[in-house]
């Protein structure tokens, strides 16, 4: 009974004392040095360095480059330059930010005016723009002045050259071409572009017939 009591209770008391003295400001140093090495006396810096964990593998940039593979065969031609990657932007994102016309389609004329897009004149970045002509032509159907259509050379020549329209599609004389709505819907005259690449005739009445603006 007695030896068992001593072997259990005495070490418990001793370690209890050591642990509680480790909590006191003054007695901490002597108690802690009992268990750990390299404890600095109060007020001094630890001589040991903080352990900083490294990633298990060094990051790839710092990895030593593998030795170049031995040449397999002698080449007479120099290796081609690695091509620089083509610049790519998020075009759908840019598209979603462009101004819209009353019918909900992209208003390319305003997009260009506001410099939201800056299309180049040619493959060569230095290619000069073709001349812009500030000439509005009024196309007035017989007996239907309400349906006067205004053809703006300015809006068109920002995008197109004279040769895209003259003389292939239109003559250079007001009223020289027998344009009608039926022909436009059939893909002739203005319909060569409108409805295919430029805004559609079926939804764009007031853009051509400016007197219809505001009408449903």
């Amino acid at each position: 009974m007695r030896p068992a009591f001593i072997t259990i209770v005495v070490p418990m008391l001793l370690s209890g004392f050591a642990v509680t003295s480790g909590c006191g400001q003054a007695t901490r140093h002597s108690a802690v040095t009992l268990f750990f090495e390299d404890v600095p006396p109060p007020g001094k810096e630890s001589p040991s360095k903080a352990v900083v964990r490294q990633p298990r593998r060094p990051p790839p940039a710092q990895a030593a480059a593998p030795p170049p593979p031995p040449p397999v065969a002698e080449t007479t031609k120099p290796l081609p330059e690695p091509e620089k990657p083509a610049v790519s932007r998020d075009w759908p994102q840019l598209l979603s930010q462009l101004p819209r016309d009353a019918a909900g389609g992209v208003d390319w004329v305003r997009a260009l005016e506001d410099k939201r897009i800056e299309p180049k004149a040619g493959l060569d970045a230095a290619a000069p723009n073709q001349p812009v002509l500030p000439l509005d032509v009024e196309l007035i159907p017989k007996n239907q002045p309400l349906f006067k259509a205004i053809f703006s050379h300015k809006a068109h020549t920002e995008w197109l050259g004279c040769a895209n329209c003259h003389p292939g599609i239109f003559q250079m004389r007001r009223g020289a071409d027998p344009i009608t709505m039926a022909k436009i819907f059939a893909g002739e005259y203005c319909g060569r572009c409108h409805g295919k690449v430029a805004f559609a005739p079926a939804t764009g009445c007031p853009r051509c017939h400016t007197a219809l603006k505001g009408a449903p």
């Binding site: 083509a86 180049k120 073709q130 295919k196």
Partner: protein
């Protein structure tokens, strides 16, 4: 034949959703309909970067089907290949087939 089938399968799996826009010109397959989807020319993405006269009529006539575009011509640097060569725009390669054929 097998290669085209495999490519078509890849194209069908990997093709991301595309915008359908006014001005998309679909090239009819001049070799007849096959497993590969037809090539589409989207005007909108090009006209953000080029005026009409950059292409018309120097590179392309303004009429669907009027230009004898083939894959051989593109890879020889003609038509679409004038730009789609890895410098001005993405090149023709196994990862890009489905950007045009969709």
């Amino acid at each position: 034949m097998l290669a085209v089938l495999v490519l078509a399968a890849i194209a069908a799996i990997a093709a991301p959703p595309r915008l359908a826009m006014l001005g998309d010109v679909v090239f009819p397959r001049h070799t007849g309909p096959g497993e590969l989807p037809p090539a589409v020319f989207p005007h909108w993405v090009h006209r953000m970067q080029f005026k009409c006269y950059a292409c018309h009529d120097a590179l392309f006539q303004m009429k669907a089907g009027a230009n004898p575009v083939t894959m051989d011509a593109i890879q020889a640097g003609k038509f679409c290949g004038i730009c789609h060569n890895g410098k001005t725009a993405f090149a023709v390669g196994f990862t890009t087939c489905n950007r045009c054929h969709r």
